[in-house]
Amino acid sequence: MAMHARASMARQAFARLSRRIAEIEGRSVCLPAHRARLPFSIRPLDAMLSGGLRRDALHEIRSTTTRDSIAAAGFAVALLVRLGMGDHRPFLLVSEADALGEAGHPYGPGLERFGLDPAKLVVVRSRRPTETLWVFEEALRCRALAAVLAEIRGHPRQLDLTASRRLALRARESGVMGLLLRQAGAAEPGVAATRWHVAPRPAAILDDFAAGIGRPAWRLALECNRNGPTGIFDLEWNHGSRAFALAEPARPALPLSRASLSGDRPHPSADAGTIMAFRRAS
């Protein structure tokens, strides 16, 4: 018994010392290999990312317009859900007041349907870019978190190259994944390990019900990848199995059309389409 206790104490002391040495040398904390990357489980995408998204890095996700920002937010939340499957630590979400006003606030029942348990989320609402940046940096240093998602609008002056480098460094030291979500952001060079552009896409068909809205789907463009090539993917999210899948090519969507009641009058408008036949009700 005493030998077992001594052996386990020795092992713990050894683990502590090796972590300390890694810290002194500036290497990132040694994560077990299978936890060092977040895979998509989609072969071509994982191959491009050399196994998956790096857990100890900063990643940037942007959308071109505010209208499309919800697609980027959905992709980010899907990544958090994937992370949460292997890691039970909570996440921190910091949103700027501008971003919340434009695109709405995260909705508990909606998050839960999507696959993310809202109890695992710590929500911070900041007012200014300086506050957002400070919270982002401090949260990235907290090893009790699995990931931090920061939502900002556009390109504030405070989030310059120096600031991003500092954020990337914090992520590398602590192993906490940093996701920077830009609403209405333009492509610009940065230090993030990967940069994504998300655009919405018609939802996949569910159970052959062509008129129904199926699983969320997006067009993802991997714009910048530090360690590999870039590409464009159409992905859909399955909230039940909590997995990504390649989306089928979209069928051209037909706008809902109804024959107008005034179709029998002369000079119908072009929107009405071609009126084939009519039977009057009375």
């Binding site: 104490m9 713990q12 683990a15 502590r16 209208r67 919800i70 697609a71 937010a73 959905g74 992709f75 939340v77 630590r89 909570p90 695109a103 709405g104 606030h105 909705y107 508990g108 029942p109 909606g110 998050l111 839960e112 349907r113 999507f114 348990d117 809202p118 109890a119 989320l121 710590v122 929500v123 911070v124 609402r125 900041s126 506050e131 400070w134 919270v135 401090e138 949260a139 907290c142 090893r143 009790a144 978190l145 655009a199 919405p200 896409r201 018609p202 939802a203 008129a211 129904g212 809205i213 699983r215 969320p216 039940g240 199995s241 979209a250 969507a253 037909l254 706008p255 809902l256 109804r258």
Partner: protein
């Protein structure tokens, strides 16, 4: 009240010239033609008195306002810190005189006796047990009675406290009211009177006084650290942690600066307390204005909660839960406590009321989001990822009475609906008579944007022109 201008307060010279408060201004001017007067400003006087009360907290936290421009301090047990009662009174009067006030102070066994001694005698300390002899020759106004009672008793010939102390009580109470007897008993110490302090007294506090006022930020931080260490020892002895801390900095010129920090979990480690205050100051962004320096710094614990001794596991790693709690507290200190929290479920079928933003320090029991009975992981997502706090009005064209929108305009952009699912009918709560039923539709436009729209009011039955709103967006 006779309608004439009367003197409300006099300075020392006016008093020497035999003027007294309540005298008519015309009479006073007749006596002294060169009299300078200023209109009485009760509000400003009160503000000044309250700031003096703040300053007086350097002696004791139990400070109350007394009628007629006075303060009452309960200095039980604190006199030895100043070298004795005489020294305390001398220090108080010196500082007040240095600030430009004319002040009289007296220490006695009871608030009543002290108030009388300060106003009507020249004593600074009334020895214990001599209150009765001290009070005997004083006029009845010294008993803090109202003017009608005093003038009523004056008419009967009762002018000194000594006269009424000897009289039988029941007829006095019947004639002049029970307040007279109460005030007499309170002044003599026969009835217990405690003062009502202006601010709640903190259960635990530590302070430091400086003979030489300090002004540098580093010195203040160092003092704060040592005060936190002192408090940590007391807290640990009681098995408590602090949930709210207040730092009071007393400037030499009388101004008091207070900062409050609240935490979601009890803390007592001095380093954590120091971090919280540092974040708070950084968040306030004000420059540190020490004036001529601080001569008293007090750290008080306003609220406590039980806290067990910290468990350290064999490897010596800190508790990771504590790490997240500390982060949340620091964010709350820097941004404000209302900005950090979690999303918790509420029991309501109205969408915007089905969730709530619970602040970090909120201890109320939280409901979890359990799967709703109708939620099936294989079905489509029926609630949006993001919700607008206030549903945004849209102009929509839809088939009446129950059809989904065909086109709608939101924020000046026209969207053509390609697919629509619904309606999901959500009626208002039955006890709210005026709210309308909502029919929610999940719509997708030709580009792939997915929205949650609702029509407010059933066509025909509840409203003739139902309006459309956009409540949320789906990923």
């Amino acid at each position: 009240m006779k309608s004439a201008l009367r003197l409300a307060a006099l300075d020392e010279r006016a008093r020497q010239l035999r003027l007294h408060p309540g005298q008519a201004l015309a009479d006073a001017r007749a006596m002294i033609p060169a009299l300078e007067t200023a209109a009485e400003d009760c509000t400003a006087d009160r503000v000044l008195l309250e700031s003096l009360a703040d300053w007086a907290e350097r002696y004791t936290p139990l400070v109350a306002l007394d009628a007629d421009h006075g303060l009452i301090l309960d200095i039980t047990g604190t006199a030895h810190l100043f070298g004795g009662e005489e020294a305390l009174v001398a220090d108080l009067c010196t500082r007040l005189t240095a600030q430009g006030f004319f002040a009289r102070a007296a220490i006695a066994d009871t608030p009543g006796a002290a108030s009388a001694a300060a106003r009507f005698t020249e004593l600074s300390v009334v020895p214990a047990g001599t209150a009765a002899t001290m009070l005997a020759p004083l006029p009845l106004a010294a008993l803090r009675l109202d003017r009608e009672t005093v003038s009523a008793m004056d008419r009967v010939g009762l002018k000194r406290i000594g006269q009424i102390a000897a009289l039988p009580r029941a007829p006095l109470a019947a004639r002049f009211g029970t307040m007279l007897i109460r005030r007499l008993d309170q002044a003599l110490g026969l009835e217990e009177e405690s003062i009502a302090p202006r601010r709640p007294v903190a259960p635990l506090s530590a302070e430091r006084r400086f003979a030489e006022p300090i002004a540098r930020e580093d010195d203040v931080a160092q003092t704060l650290a040592s005060l936190a260490a002192t408090l940590a020892a007391s807290l640990e002895a009681r098995g408590l942690g602090a949930r709210a801390l207040e730092l009071a900095l007393f400037r030499v010129d009388g101004f008091v600066a207070r900062t409050v920090v609240a935490t979601s979990r009890p803390v007592r480690t001095p380093k954590l307390v120091l971090d919280l205050f540092r974040e708070k100051f950084a968040g306030l962004g004000e420059t540190f204005d020490a004036g001529f320096g601080f001569d008293v710094i007090r750290l008080a614990v306003n609220a406590t909660a039980p806290q067990n001794p910290a468990q350290i596991d064999l490897a010596g790693d800190a508790d990771s839960d504590a790490g997240l709690g500390q982060l949340i507290d620091r964010i709350g200190a820097r941004l404000g406590p209302a900005r950090v929290g979690r999303i918790v479920a509420e029991n309501s079928h109205i969408p915007e009321r089905a969730e709530r933003f619970a602040l970090a320090g909120d201890d109320a029991p939280k409901e979890n989001f359990g799967p709703l009975p109708s939620f099936d992981p294989d079905s489509a997502i029926d609630r949006p990822l993001r919700l607008f706090t206030r549903p945004e009005p849209v102009e929509a064209i839809a088939e009446v009475p129950d059809g989904p929108p065909v086109r709608f305009r939101w924020r000046r952009v026209l969207y053509r609906v390609a697919r629509a699912e619904g309606p999901e009918r959500i009626a208002a709560e039955w006890w709210r008579n005026d709210d309308l039923t909502r029919d929610y539709f999940r719509v997708e436009d030709i580009s792939g944007h997915r929205f949650w729209l609702f029509r407010e009011g059933l066509y025909g039955r509840e409203s003739l022109a139902p309006r459309w709103y956009l409540h949320g967006v789906f990923a």
